[in-house]
């Protein structure tokens, strides 16, 4: 197998990249100055060497603690629980949340053999029990599995005397009501608020 084929095969293993796109990426790199390809390979090596899970929250980190956990300006009494580390980025991009995070590493899924022990729920309970946390915001996905995970967390955390809240669900911003499915409208109706 040639070097081109090996690189194309490696690219094709990445999510969202098929064989044709992988070959196009390889040829693009070959057309560009050599330094660009070396910079890309250096960045990949650096990420592989330095990025690891944050010891406190499970987010991506370059040292023992991630940027959020080591930031003294964050409100550590507010804890947002997400399924995966990339969900942290989605919430951070809003610029509306100043608390800290906890990454579960998935959601309850009996059919996949994922129970509470397979997630970082014991560590979450340790944090809720030992840190001065006043509110846990459960930001798991709005799927049946994400909802069941949220309910499990609520049942487990509420007896510890900590307020548990859930992200609101409803009509996506900018969408026409006419085109929204019945399940979403029903959720929005159930979660309506007084104006």
């Amino acid at each position: 197998m040639s070097a081109i084929d090996r690189l194309a095969e490696d690219f094709a293993r990445l999510p969202g990249i098929g064989r044709k796109t992988a070959i196009r990426l390889v040829f693009h790199l070959m057309k560009r100055p050599k330094e660009e390809a070396l910079r890309l390979s250096g960045s990949i090596r650096e990420v592989a060497d330095t990025i690891r899970p944050c010891e406190r929250c499970g987010n991506f980190a370059e040292s023992d603690l991630c940027e959020i956990c080591s930031n003294p300006g964050r409100d550590t009494s507010l804890l947002c629980v997400v399924e995966e580390a990339y969900d942290v980025g989605a919430i951070e991009r809003t610029g509306q949340f100043r608390g800290v995070f906890h990454v579960l590493g998935g959601r309850l899924s009996p059919l996949d053999g994922v129970g509470p022990e397979e997630l970082s729920i014991p560590r979450l309970l340790d944090r809720v029990g030992s840190d001065a946390i006043s509110e846990v915001i459960v930001a798991t996905n709005a799927s049946v599995e994400g909802e069941a995970t949220a309910v499990y967390l609520e049942n487990t955390i509420r007896p510890l005397g900590v307020k548990v809240t859930r992200l609101a669900r409803g009509i996506p911003v900018g969408s026409d009501l006419e085109y929204v499915d019945g399940t979403t409208i029903a959720e929005a109706l159930a979660g309506r608020r007084e104006m």
Partner: protein
């Protein structure tokens, strides 16, 4: 390529690429069917919130008989089951029904199994909490029986003699049912008292009045039966999930019943 429309229950989904999902349905007319739902991961996607685990609806798909993975054209939910997620034990019970149906994996028309599964999910969703385990046992045994694995409770699967009313038997998984006291000596399988046998018969007959004493012991019996006959001796993940939720404090056996 043809287009088919059938009633279907979504039992499982996997993310595929940045925007799509692979969905596994149990359909009324085609058994278990896997379809690709392009664009279904987008929040503004064409299917919105209708594609959720355990939902029942009308599935329309482009089908090529030579392919294992078909293409979703449309899905309209007729029976959303989001309330199942609001109670973790109900969620676990629905997952057991789903895994048993998926283990079957037949591709032909299966209207009776479809209706049984649909009814089972409805029952697990709405039953009062104290009756949840008994209802789940009844619905899963009913599904297992409809799939063609009805255990023989009388007569003895070894000698053919009818068991007496108070006779202690033994459940022989390999034999597919109960052995009498004489044939049960030193044999494998859990011992099964007359009450446990009666309750098991009621569950298999879908008798809604069944009162299940030691439901966790019945759950272990069901798990072992399903593992032996449907899953090729591979333990089913959903049973372990439910057992972990229930805890290990039940020492009840079916022998004393």
């Amino acid at each position: 390529m043809g287009v088919i429309t059938t009633s279907a229950i979504l039992l499982r989904s996997f993310n595929y690429s940045e925007t799509s999902k692979v969905l596994r349905f149990f359909t009324r007319d085609h058994g278990v069917m896997a379809v690709m739902a392009k664009g279904s991961r987008k929040s503004h996607g064409r299917y919105g919130g209708s594609i959720e685990t355990f939902v029942t609806g009308e599935l329309t798909a482009y089908v090529r008989p030579t392919r294992d993975l078909q293409t979703l054209k449309d899905f309209s939910a007729t029976r959303p089951r989001r309330p199942l997620a609001a109670h973790v034990l109900r969620f676990a019970g629905a997952s057991i029904l789903a895994e048993v149906a998926l283990e079957h994996s037949g591709e032909g028309p299966a209207p009776e199994i479809f209706e049984r599964l649909n009814h089972g999910l409805d029952a697990v969703e709405v039953v009062d909490e104290p009756e949840l385990l008994a209802t789940l046992l009844r619905e899963v045994w009913g599904l297992v029986a409809d799939l063609g694995y009805h255990p023989v409770l009388d007569p003895c699967v070894q000698c053919g003699r009818a068991l007496e009313a108070g006779e202690m038997g033994r459940f022989d998984f390999g034999g597919g049912g109960v052995r009498c006291a004489q044939c049960a000596e030193d044999g494998p399988g859990p011992r099964l008292g007359p009450n446990a046998r009666r309750q098991l018969r009621q569950m298999l007959d879908a008798d809604p009045s069944v009162q299940v004493s030691h439901p966790r012991a019945h759950l272990r019996l069901l798990e072992n039966f399903v593992t032996y006959h449907l899953a090729g001796s591979r333990p089913l993940r959903t049973f372990k999930f439910l057992a972990d939720l229930l805890g290990q404090d039940d020492s009840g056996t079916l022998e004393r019943m």
